[in-house]
Amino acid sequence: MVSGLTVGSTYGLTGLGFTIIFNTTGIINFAQGEFVMLGGMLSVYYLTALKLPLLVAIVLAALTTTLVGALIERFTIRPVKNASPIQLIIITIGISIVIRGVAMLLWGKDTFALPPFSGNAPIAAFGASIMPQSLWILGITLLLLLGLRTFFAKSIYGKAMLACSYDRKAAYLVGVGVEWMVLASFMISALVGAIGGAILAPITLTSYDNGILLGLKGFAACILGGLGNPFGAAAGGLIIGALESYGAGLISSAYKDAFAFIILLFLLFVKPSGLFGRASAKRV
Amino acid sequence: MPAEAAMPALLECRDVSVRFGGVLALAEVDFTVARGAIAALIGPNGAGKTTLLNAITGMAPIYGGVIRFAGADITAMPPHRRSKAGVVRTFQNLEIFSNMTVLENVMTGAHRRVKYNLLDAVFKTPRYFRAEKQCVGVAMDCLEFVGLAAARDLPAGELPFGNQRLLELARGIAAAPELLLLDEPAAGLNMKETRQLGALISRIRDERGVTIALVEHDMDLVMSISDEITVLQYGQELAKGTPAAIQRNPKVVAAYLGDDEDGDDDRGAGRANA
C-alpha cells in the first residue's frame, strides 16, 4: 500500500505538471512524461558521469529539464499560437518522441538506478516496514504541492497564469504578459516533473522510455482529480497508485499497468470532469 | 399578409427556460411564429436571443418548457433530426465549410434531400449519378437565388465577407426548410448590403414559402421586413407586436435607450401591418 502511494505521488506530480500547463494554455502537453524521465536520467548522468554529489546532481537535472521545457515552449509552441487542437496534440507527441530518441542515443536502452537519498534500511512504522525513500517522496511531493498552492493562490504571477487560461485576450488586455506566463508554465511543469522523476528513480529505476507510461498515468491522475484542479491531480495520482498496488495483489501484477488506463477510459466515458473538477472542456 | 389567428403557428415555444450553471439565460419565454410570417427577435445584448435560437435548434439544453414545430413536440429531438424536420438556421459567427468549394457547401446543405446510400457511392450506381445531378441542380438553383452562381467553384473561404453571409443563406435554403432561423444575418454588412439582404429575405418567404425568424440588431432591417417582433430582455419577454406597435412601446424604447438612434427614424414604418 505504501509503495502504491509512493508511486502514486509521482503520478500526482506528473499530473500536476499537466495541470499547470493546461491551466495557463489549455494545451495538454503530451511530452510531460518525458520531463519526469529526464529528471531521473539526468540525475543518474550527472551523478555517475560527472561524479557530482547526489543533491547537486538532482538540482542540476531539475534545472536542465526546466531549460528543456523553456526551449520547447519557445521554439515549438509559441510559433503556432493559433494551431488547432489536433495540430498541437501531434506537435507535443512529436516532441515527446524526439526527447525519447535523444535520450536513447545518449544513454542507450539500459535501466539505471539512483541511490536512495538516505540509505536502504527500512523503517518500521504503523506495523509495516517503509523504505526511507518513500518518506522522501511523500515529503517532497507535499512540499511541492504546498509551494504551488501558495504560488497560485497568493502570488501575483500565479494568479496571472490562471487568468491566462480563463481568457487569454482579457489577461493580455489587463497587462498580463501572456507569453511570459506560458513560458513560465512550461518551465514550472518541467521542474515539477523532473523532481518527481528524480525522487522516484531510486525505487522504480529509470530508462529512456519510462516517460510514456508515466505521462499517461499522470494524465489519468489529472482527469481523475478533475482537469484544472492541482490538488485533484495529486489526489488522483495517489488513488491510482493505491488502486494499482491493490489490484496487482488481487488479480495479477502483469496487468497492473492496464489498471490506470482502464480507469482513464472509464472516466473519460462516464465523467470527464473527474472527482473534483469543474465541468469545463465539455464534450461536443 | 398571413392572418395569424386563422392558421396554427408553425413554431411554438412555451415557457422555455435555459440554464447555464447558475445563470438563467432564458426564463419561461414564449415565442411563436406563424406559418408564412417573418418574425423578428430583438433585444439588448445578453437578452438571450441567440440562446433561444440554440434552444429551438437543439444546441442548448432546455431546462423547462416545450417546443412544438408543425404540431409535433421537438423538445427532445437531436439537432440533425430537427433539421430533417424542417428547422434550419444560420450562424452569427459564420460557419461555412472552408474546406469545400462554394458549390459543395450548398450541396452539403441539401444533404438530407439527396437519397442514396454508401453502396451507391462506392459502386457509382445510376442512382448515385441521378441523385448527385439533382443535388447539383438544387445547389445551383440556391446559388442563383442569392446571386453567387458565378462563384460556384471558388474555395468558400476565399469569398468576401458579405458573400460568405449569402453562402450561408444559400446553404440554409438548400435544405428546403419550412422554418429558417437567421442569427444576425446583417452583422458586418454595410447599408447597401443590408438593404439587399432584406429584399432577399422577403423573396425567400414570398417565392419559396419559407417561414422566417430572425435575430437582429439592425432596426432598419427589422422594421422594414418583419410581420411581428418579439422583444427579449434579461432572458424574458418584454413585448410583442407589429413593428409600429413595438416602436411606440415605451418599455422597448427604455430598454434600448441610447442604443440605436436609427430606431427613431421613419424608415421602418413602411412594411408595418397596421
Binding site: T76, I97, L213, Y255 | A110, Y116
Partner: protein, 336 residues
C-alpha cells in the same frame, strides 16, 4: 486544420479518380520488374500493407478530423484473430478473414460509441489508452497470444484454392487490394458522405443543421478505418507467418499518424505516398534504425508547424501556384 478545399465532389471527379487508381495499379504491377532483387519485394509488400491502414486513418483523421492514437490495436487484433482462427482452430482462411475483420470492426464499434463523443485531447487520450490496454493484453495473455515472444506458425495465405507462397504472388495480391481500397475510398469521398465528413471536420454545428447525423458518421468512419486496418492485419499475419506484440505498439500507432501527416491530411494519394516513403526509408538509410524515432518525431513537429498539408500538399501547392501564375492571363485560377 481544414484549409483549402480538398478533393472535389463532382461527377467528373469520378472519372479522374478511376483513372488515377488505374494508373496507380499499373505502376504497382510493373514495379517488381524494376527491382534489383527480391528483398525489396518484401519492403513493398509491407509498404502496401501499411498504406492500407493509413488510407483508413486518413479518412478518419484527415477528412473527418478525428484523431486516433491507438490504430495499431486494430491492426494487431485482426492479426491475432486470424492467427488463432487458422492456426489454433484450423479454420479455413476465408473464415479467418471474416472473423478477423468482423471481430475488429465489432470492437471498433463498441469502443467507438463512447469514445467519439469526446473531442480534442480527450479523444486522443482515450484512443491512446485503448491502444495501450490492447497492447498489454497481447503481451500478458500468454496462453492465447504467445506473449512477448510472439505467435508462431500462422499458415501462409491460401484463398479459394490459391496458395500465395512466393513473395511475388503475395505482392500482386496486396497491391491489388490496396488499389481496390483506394478506389473505394476515393468513391466514398466523392459523394455526399465525403461532404458530410468534411463538414464535420470544419463545423460540427453547421453539419448538424444541414441534417448530418455527426455521431453516426463519426462512428461509421471510425469502424471503417478499423476495418481497413483489419484487412491489413490479416494480410500481414499470413505473410510473415509470425506475429509479435512489438509490431502493434504505441510506436507503430505514432508511425501511422506520421505517415498520414507527412502525406498531408485529407489527401488520399498523399497518405499512400507517406506510407511508402516512411516504410522504405529505413531500408534506404541504414542508419535510420538508430535515428528512426528522432526522424519520425522531427517530421511530426516540422509538418505540423510549417506544412499542414504535408510534403505532398506543399509540393502540390507549389505546382498550383506556378500553374496559376502561368494561367493568369486567361483570367481566373482554377481552384481545383
Amino acid at each position: 486544420m481544414a484549409g483549402r478545399p480538398q478533393k472535389g465532389s463532382d461527377v467528373a471527379g469520378n472519372r479522374k479518380n478511376l483513372a488515377q487508381v488505374l494508373a496507380f495499379a499499373t505502376a504497382l504491377f510493373l514495379a517488381p520488374f524494376f527491382l534489383p532483387n527480391e528483398y525489396y519485394l518484401t519492403v513493398l509488400i509491407i509498404a502496401c500493407i501499411n498504406a492500407i491502414i493509413v488510407a483508413g486513418l486518413n479518412l478518419l483523421l484527415g477528412y473527418a478530423g478525428q484523431i486516433s492514437l491507438g490504430h495499431a490495436a486494430f491492426f494487431g487484433l485482426s492479426s491475432y484473430a486470424t492467427a488463432l482462427a487458422t492456426a489454433k482452430f484450423g479454420l479455413p482462411m476465408e473464415l479467418g478473414l471474416i472473423i478477423a475483420v468482423g471481430l475488429t470492426s465489432l470492437v471498433a464499434f463498441l469502443i467507438g460509441i463512447p469514445t467519439l463523443k469526446l473531442s480534442g485531447h480527450y479523444l486522443a487520450m482515450a484512443t491512446l489508452g485503448f491502444g495501450v490496454i490492447v497492447y498489454i493484453f497481447f503481451n500478458e495473455t500468454v496462453e492465447l497470444t504467445g506473449g512477448p515472444s510472439g505467435y508462431v506458425g500462422v499458415p501462409r495465405l491460401k484463398l479459394f484454392g490459391l496458395v500465395f507462397s512466393s513473395d511475388r504472388a503475395y505482392y500482386f495480391l496486396v497491391a491489388g487490394v490496396l488499389a481496390l481500397i483506394m478506389l473505394v475510398s476515393l468513391n466514398l469521398i466523392n459523394s455526399r458522405f465525403g461532404r458530410a465528413l468534411r463538414a464535420i471536420h470544419t463545423s460540427e454545428k453547421a453539419a448538424q443543421v444541414s441534417g448530418v447525423d455527426i455521431g453516426k458518421y463519426k462512428l461509421l468512419i471510425f469502424v471503417l478505418s478499423a476495418a481497413y486496418a483489419a484487412v491489413a492485419g490479416f494480410l500481414y499475419a499470413h505473410y510473415l507467418t509470425f506475429i509479435a506484440p512489438t509490431s502493434f505498439s504505441f510506436s507503430f500507432s505514432v508511425a501511422l499518424i506520421t505517415m498520414v501527416v507527412l502525406g498531408g491530411m485529407a489527401n488520399m494519394w498523399g497518405a499512400v505516398a507517406g506510407a511508402f516513403f516512411l516504410t522504405a526509408l529505413p531500408q534506404v538509410l541504414q542508419v535510420f534504425e538508430t535515428y528512426e524515432v528522432l526522424i519520425f518525431g522531427g517530421i511530426l513537429i516540422v509538418c505540423m508547424m510549417f506544412l499542414p498539408d504535408g510534403i505532398v500538399g506543399g509540393a502540390t501547392r507549389l505546382l498550383r501556384f506556378l500553374a496559376s501564375s502561368l494561367k493568369r492571363k486567361q483570367g481566373g485560377a482554377d481552384a481545383r
